[in-house]
Amino acid sequence: MSALPTTPTIRKTALNAVHRQMGTKMVEFNGWDMPVEYPTSGGIIAEHMAVRTGVGIFDVSHMGDIRLSGPGALAAVQHISMNDAARLAVGQAQYSALLYPQGTFVDDVIVHRLADDEYLLVINAGTREKDFNWVRENTRNFDCRVENLSDDFTQIAIQGPRAVVVLQKLTDADLSSVKFYWVMRGTVCGLRNILIARTGYTGEDGFEIYIPADEATSARVWNEILKTGKDLGILPCGLGARNTLRLEAKLPLYEHEISDTINVWEAGLDRFCKMEKPEFIGRAALEKARTEGLNRVLTGIEMIDRGIARDGYKVQDETGREIGYVTSGSPAPFLKKNIALAYVPPAFSEIGRELKVDIRGQGVTARVVPTPFYKRQKKT
């Protein structure tokens, strides 16, 4: 007899069978069996371009959801997150982060205010259990209920400048009334009271909808969106395009740009960290770190010479001395450049400065550039 397998089971979203039927290339991501690219779409570059110029849809059901509700919900959210949730109107959302006492990241989150005393935190797949336990532990003294709703939803992201056109055909909600980073409820594909958030992880306009996680409903909604968007050239998109899209827009990825050893100032997320709040976990350490100055900052670079910087590659000064490392690097399909984010000392981060990236033993020349690498044109 062989021993029982000790490796944890790979988790699947409710759309797993749909993806596999389409001949999708799957990959393990943070314990999840997820689409990386759809050969039927033409691959990562085609998917990326669809989102920049038209519309694409993503299964992002691996993301987790934590609900805090009750009279003490706001105070609890204020205590555990760095942005100022008191500024949120009902129906509004904000980018934020959960921090350790040392000012480093438990995770980055989107906080949605769903009702007067109800907040929904959307969290990363790889940190689901850690986040939930951490939120529960740190909100014990507040009069609020904490629920893990991670398995309740199939989360579908519809992203791109034409996303609004496609989704509007499937809902009675007036999407023109929902601003970016706002949320509303409406009937979607005949399903009542569906949460519709104008959020995403691509640097484009778009929506994320939260539908019941049963397989039949999930498959029906996924297929209806694809069918409805067909004339607009909608493509199903995988984690490959999701990564290149978020990198062009400089949106952080946990364990890359942010982690439990990187603090808020280093990551350059100052504008989402409200030090005017009197108290939140991590605040004291950040106050101290701010007076001490930074040893490294997240910096955007683009390759000048031929070569692609990849995650983990070393960054060198012009003499070849190691000064930092790449957190995320890739060809940028829309910009048609090879770009990367890297941690380097502030003295090496000024725009235009030449650096080198160690690519298989060769110091390949790169240059510091402004970020985000890509910024969409906003209407008016």
Partner: protein, 129 residues
Amino acid sequence: MSYPPDFKYTKQHEWIKADGDSATVGITNYAQESLGDIVFVETPKVGAELTAGKAFGTVESVKAVSDLYAPASGTVTEVNGELATAPEKINKDAHSAWIMKIKLKNPGELNSLLSAADYEKFVAEEGGH
């Protein structure tokens, strides 16, 4: 896509087509499908000495970097310069978008490589689970 019967194949997914003691090398259709959009090919220099089974260059897709392994020992006589500006040619037709030509040290080495039929069987098993 069918695998040309006059090519030999490696388990690392390179193909080689010999003509006397010279040969052309590329990567297989299975390789380009697995890699996805190819954006970069790093080739050796003309004159470089290759050893069978040893890495001689890299091919990069949007997502990943993969080493290329020499199907046979020999000396590089020509590299396909087109791939520097148009690496996607490998995605379009992997079996005609060659990477380099070599002068074989020992043409007999090719006997140990896979035939088209054996390679097809091999990738069917590799891709099947």
